[in-house]
Symmetry: C3
Subunit: 322 residues, 3 copies
């Protein structure tokens, strides 16, 4: 039987955090409550020291300055320190032919938790299986999972609307390949009565299998093909980038990348008072910067900050249990 | 109207530090007094904790191990921590086409201040304009500015002579392109009755425009062409490297690089008891290592240390206001 | 007279740590006692703060994520912070032609100790000679020395057997080039009545000069050529990798690399109840992973952990004297 990360089941301490599938709505609730507490403490300017004397190793086999910065700051905000191992496959032991398992076992000897980023799906799980003493946190493994991204997205929606059910949302962009979109759909499927409008170039539509799968999980999906068909007053817009690196030809990219753009005009026409405009970032033209100053645009403000609070809460829970 | 960083005007808290032009002699005086205090605390071996719980992001688009190390140590000497983002244009989001503005807005969500180094002049100002919540400190933007370098140079002169006016100095090397030389001339022009002798290969003389400009600002400039013409007993010598990377041909470099060299002999002939010998480093042959042990040679001792104390003082002032 | 690092002679404070030759058995004993104390403190989960407010610069001219991680964690476990300078020869001042001496003198201005890793033998000694104020610790200089590796090996043997004399050991692999093997033989020669069986492909045997040298130092060496000749119940096995980078041809490497392998079978036949199985890591096939779970296999457990405790103890001793 192959290794599966344990369900959280209300107990975070010592658990690996590999997949959103480990979380029940109750687990998510525990996490969000602590994240909110972290936010209040930060707002009061009182340094928390819950990770005082703790070391977290950030081992990134693939660069991601944003996720690296967010996890690093999360550890340090709590009084802990990081050991930063960047590109070990180029630098040293790993390049000498060491297995991932050995690398993990060596680094776990030095620290209290390991955050791993890797380009290959499934790697975080292998790392978790190898580690004997410390929890492994998945910071994204290729087309696999990136659970803290989804948790911060859910946290941002929940913060605004006070619930994760009975929501009407909009997802736009590369729905075929976009990892964040898929994970968020999975996350929303943990709650009842959610409806999501899907807007993408037809080449980048959700695959039939995925459409069926998420529908069966309970999310009501509605495919549309023009911005005009967007519902008014949705609870959230989740706009994403067409990822150049996932397309076969650059020509394809040029024709697809800016098919759908958030403009001031579109916001005026379709967004409601309580609609929040989200984006997992980076953006490369999908949202007109003039929209940034709209209080409903959260992609550069609370969405980013919640990423840090979620990671602070998660690190605190898996390392100290509280 | 384009964005201009605010004058300090006695109030550092929350201000971006982009250019020497923001400083009045009174501001410089406040800074130097705190830097001196930092030095005393360090000498007593008592760790200061003024940045306890604070995080400073060091975002370097261009490597500079010296400036990186000095800023990093400054934060840590004060009990703070850093998040180190090196070469984001190669690693990740930025390489995916993200704008500098978005990058800055993301990282400011995680920290209390951002130190930025960039190869392109004007970038620090753009970053400062983008940041909504935390101060930006310019750690050098190409041929633009590097204000902490100039402040540490002024601090070193002031520490020795107890004043920044009525000085006679010497500047040698690439006066055409050298950023440190230009900034120091600007800094000295804030004070009265300073005279600077300029010695360089004729291909690397101060441009006519710059000569006129600094003269108008009030520094008396005297161009000389041979080491023999150096004044005796100057208050400071500021020797600089001919920067290979700024010259059109390598051949040119070879013929120019070691035209003027500080030797023991030259020191004996021209330096006085109170002359200090400075260099912004790195050096590649402009100063004979035998001179290093001369107590008047400060380039490897107090000049380097003052860089850290100045940065400690500046970080403390912009983050905490004191 | 050329510079030689000082003997420890019971006094660690301020001393450079360049070579195992600086240590007497009494010095090693002081170090091991403190390392054991570090281990107990860590096991109790009480953060030590002996390096509170101290900064250690890790300057790595050659990547080595394992040694980098171990030293970094050691500093942070003790409440200190690091300034990490990776590949300065590529990044910045050094690439502009700065000498190692100048680099060291600049960085020592910012910190309380410097850990240096360099590909060229003898570099750590040059750094130690250049530094005026802070101790230099050698984290490996090419085919030169890597004293903390040997100290952790000795510590691991001592921890198990309670002594470093009257031992019977086995060393396997590339005995011609392997730095760790040579250093450990040197270390064992500080104690009396040790016997080591040497097993290697004949192309990778200890050179005649080295064989004679270590014998004269007092270690009894016995060369064998087949796994069958291994002694039963040895006190330790020290298995090493055939280093691809040291061999002339890749073909050679393929034929030599897995000549001798630790299998469960071999352990059953030759290891005793108290034999410990060691490896300096990384391994690339010399030890069957099935052996990892054997309690006598210490290469992924206490050997790695002792590396950190030894480095913690050493840093504490050279920086604070206790």
């Amino acid at each position: 039987m192959s290794f599966e990360p344990q369900k959280i089941n209300g107990k975070f301490k010592g658990k690996d955090i590999i997949s959103l599938d480990q979380f029940s709505p109750k687990d998510i609730d525990i996490l969000f409550r602590l994240a909110r507490k972290m936010k209040v403490i930060a707002a009061n300017g009182k340094p928390s020291r819950v990770l005082d004397g703790k070391i977290v190793t950030l081992i990134f086999y693939e660069p991601s300055s944003r996720t690296f910065g967010s996890f690093g700051a999360s550890v340090k905000q709590l009084g802990g320190q990081t050991v930063d191992i960047l590109n070990p496959q180029v630098f040293s032991s790993v390049s000498k032919g060491e297995t991932l398992e050995d690398t993990i076992r060596v680094f776990e000897a030095y620290c209290d938790a390991i955050v791993i980023r890797h380009p290959v799906a499934g790697t975080a799980k292998i790392a978790a299986e190898a580690a004997k003493f410390v929890p492994i946190l998945n910071a994204g493994d290729g087309i696999g999972e990136h659970p803290t991204q989804t948790l911060l997205d859910l946290c941002t929606i929940n913060e605004k609307h006070g619930r994760l059910n009975k929501l009407t949302g909009v997802m736009v962009g590369d729905l075929l390949n976009g990892r964040t979109v898929h994970s968020l759909l999975k996350g929303l499927s943990l709650y009842k009565n959610n409806t999501v409008y899907l807007l993408s170039p037809k080449e980048l539509k959700l695959s039939k299998e995925d459409f069926r799968d998420y529908s069966l999980r309970g999310v009501k999906l509605i495919e549309i093909s023009k911005q005009e068909e967007l519902p008014k007053n949705a609870d959230f817009w989740y706009w994403t980038r067409v990822q150049k690196e996932r397309l076969k030809s650059l020509e394809n990219y040029e024709s697809l990348k800016n098919r759908f753009i958030v403009t001031k005009n579109l916001v005026n026409q379709k967004a409601g008072k309580n609609t929040i405009i989200m984006h997992p970032l980076p953006r490369v033209g999908e949202i007109d910067p003039i929209v940034d100053s709209d209080p409903r645009a959260v992609y550069l403000s609370s969405q980013v900050r919640n990423g840090m609070y979620i990671r602070m809460a998660l690190l605190s829970l898996v390392i100290t249990g509280k």
